[in-house]
Symmetry: C2
Subunit: 345 residues, 2 copies
DNA sequence: GGCAGTCATGTTAGCCATATCATACTAGAA
DNA sequence: TTCTAGTATGATATGGCTAACATGACTGCC
């Protein structure tokens, strides 16, 4: 005797299943599950219990199509492999938490083409807003953003013309600010250590700002050392060793980010350099987990968490006084002297 | 004379707009944009040009509803604020890159309730699969996962019973392995430094494994120091100072993660401890950006990137020999002796 | 009692794609 | 020439939900 049990083709549950199971219309169930008014407490209770008992999970695909709105926010960043962007994402995540909006992350690997692809993919979900790192995009990407008809916030950088809103700092100014501080502290033979990556526009602008700033004091970079890939801390060591052995009379090392700076700092300490007397050092970002290093590296805080929060607030329409787009938030990066720069003379 | 310009109510573009603009049916446009066969090269070309010119972006909401499939993979992790999970996400991202599948990340903040919420939210998008950190979930979350009718991969941890597939390491074994190594190296007075967070199940299991392992050698922890929040590197310093001043005769410090371990290491070096002779140290995770520290901290590699890749491969159905679910991949964590443990005596 | 005004719920008509089946048309075989 | 097969395209019917409007049961007031 073969078993005659129904083969149980578990059709996914729909609103209809819930509505039939508790004897109300689909519309009423829908209203309950979206917490709309105008449902009697008794009915609400009944529906909620049934839905829970069945294990019903609403289908936002259908819901989004019907209502023409989707509670997603597209967030596009170049990388997750250093702490910078995860911190921004954390800020975004926190700020969106009580808004009913949900961030969706995409990663471009610092490639403009990949950015275009990711953007296309994301926009095809018709999100309620988009947050994207940087102001430099391909023409196609820019066109997509302009035509999407949703609020766009470009973040991290404020040196350029935004499509809609922008939240960031001026990396050019940050570079110049550092140049001024270095010169004010009396350093003159300055070395630059950074990444080979030309597509990291913000790092490029910082370097530009630094050289321009030095130029206003009649100085220029005495040497430069670039890297790509690998453990940043270790690279910092190696690069520092390389640049110091090549140009022994450097009295300041500017690192394009804190991680390589930390590596450099550890190297110099182990070699017995007198810091900040003989040799000054500074990084960029204000990464706070480096607080535990033997000395506190001078740096400029990139306001990463704050940028995430503010960008998210713009998308969520918090504190906007009714204005919809075109916000410009330029945060002022704070220079932290730390222990690796002499006090201004 | 008031302007009579059409008020330009930019209705979002649909397939119909494209189809009308180039004189074919919607169906044909749809086929072209999804790269289906059976469209003549001439038509394809024409459609592609029109779509590009109009700036049409397909609506996956509608597409997903019609086709009953969505190319998203839900990825749920506890946190983005240390490098551990970003590395896993990077692995997932890479492995999915050529599959047409797209990861969507959700963050739970180590809270079971929040996990449940995030999961509900994510499943309501009807993803093609889900990757979720850990084996411990609320009953409701477990039920949702079981009923979702999609492949589920629980990651990071293999100590327990998975819902469907699992990719991870045994944190219990990792703890025991470390205990064995510590004892083999001749250390006897062992201190534990870790997080207060009871909801980090994997950290808990590592500690359990460590104490159980020590017990098999007739040892127990001599002291314990816990922390919460803050910069891990700094906390590592502070905790180390605290535990060493409280229990001066400790000869080994086991840290629940590499970051606090690194802080502790820097502290001990600055205080002139003889490492690994007088005092041994070890962490957990194998975070490679710590490679630049003055000494290499002993650690156990948690295979984070690899876990991400393998989990993604299971969802994508790569190399599965046709099997759909129920995979069990237990990676073998490698103990790295580094410079902070004596060689086994 | 009759009627406007509420409140709770139901009905209908899409939302924008895609699966499926139907239909022209072409080319080659019998 | 006629018929079969195959190719390119189109018509139709959903998919699961929600907006907008419709309904019906009450309430309370003149």
């Amino acid at each position: 005797m073969s078993q005659t049990r129904q083969p149980e083709i578990r059709r996914p549950l729909t609103l209809r299943d819930v509505s039939e199971a508790c004897g109300v219309s689909e519309m009423t169930v829908s209203r309950v599950l979206r917490n709309r008014e105008d449902v009697s407490p008794a009915t609400r209770e009944k529906v909620l219990n049934t839905a829970r008992a069945l294990g019903y999970v609403p289908n936002k695909i259908a819901g989004g199509l019907a209502s023409q709105q989707v509670n997603l926010v597209a967030v596009i960043v170049p990388s997750l492999s250093n702490m910078v962007f995860p911190e921004v994402l954390t800020g975004i995540s926190e700020a969106l938490d009580d808004t009913g909006l949900q961030p969706v992350f995409g990663v471009t690997g610092y490639s403009a083409e990949k950015e275009e692809e990711v953007l296309y993919e994301m926009l095809s979900w018709r999100p309620s807003g988009a947050i994207i790192a940087g102001l430099e995009h391909t023409d196609a990407a820019r066109a997509m953003l302009e035509n999407a008809g949703i609020p766009i916030v470009e973040i991290m950088d404020s040196d350029g013309t935004p499509i809609d809103s922008v939240v960031g700092i001026s990396h050019r100014l940050a570079g110049m600010q550092m140049a001024d501080a270095i010169v004010a502290a009396g350093y003159r033979r300055i070395g630059f250590l950074g990444s080979k990556m030309t597509s990291d526009h913000r790092a490029r602008k910082r370097m530009q700002g630094l050289t321009d700033g030095l130029a206003t004091h009649g100085l220029e970079l005495a040497d430069t050392e670039l890297y790509s890939g690998g453990s940043a801390l270790k690279k910092g060591r190696e690069m520092t060793e390389a640049i110091l052995s090549r140009t022994a009379d450097l009295d300041f090392l500017y690192y394009s980010n804190d991680m390589i700076g930390a590596g450099g700092l550890l190297y110099c300490l182990s070699k017995g350099y007198d810091i900040p007397g003989q040799l000054g050092m500074a990084g960029f970002n204000g990464v706070d987990f480096l607080d535990g290093l033997p000395m506190k590296l001078a740096t400029i805080d990139a306001c990463r968490h704050e940028i995430g929060v503010q960008a998210a607030n713009i998308i969520a329409g918090k504190d906007q006084g009714g204005v919809i787009g075109g916000h410009r938030v330029e945060l002022t990066p704070q220079l932290v002297h730390g222990d690796t720069m002499r006090a201004p003379s």
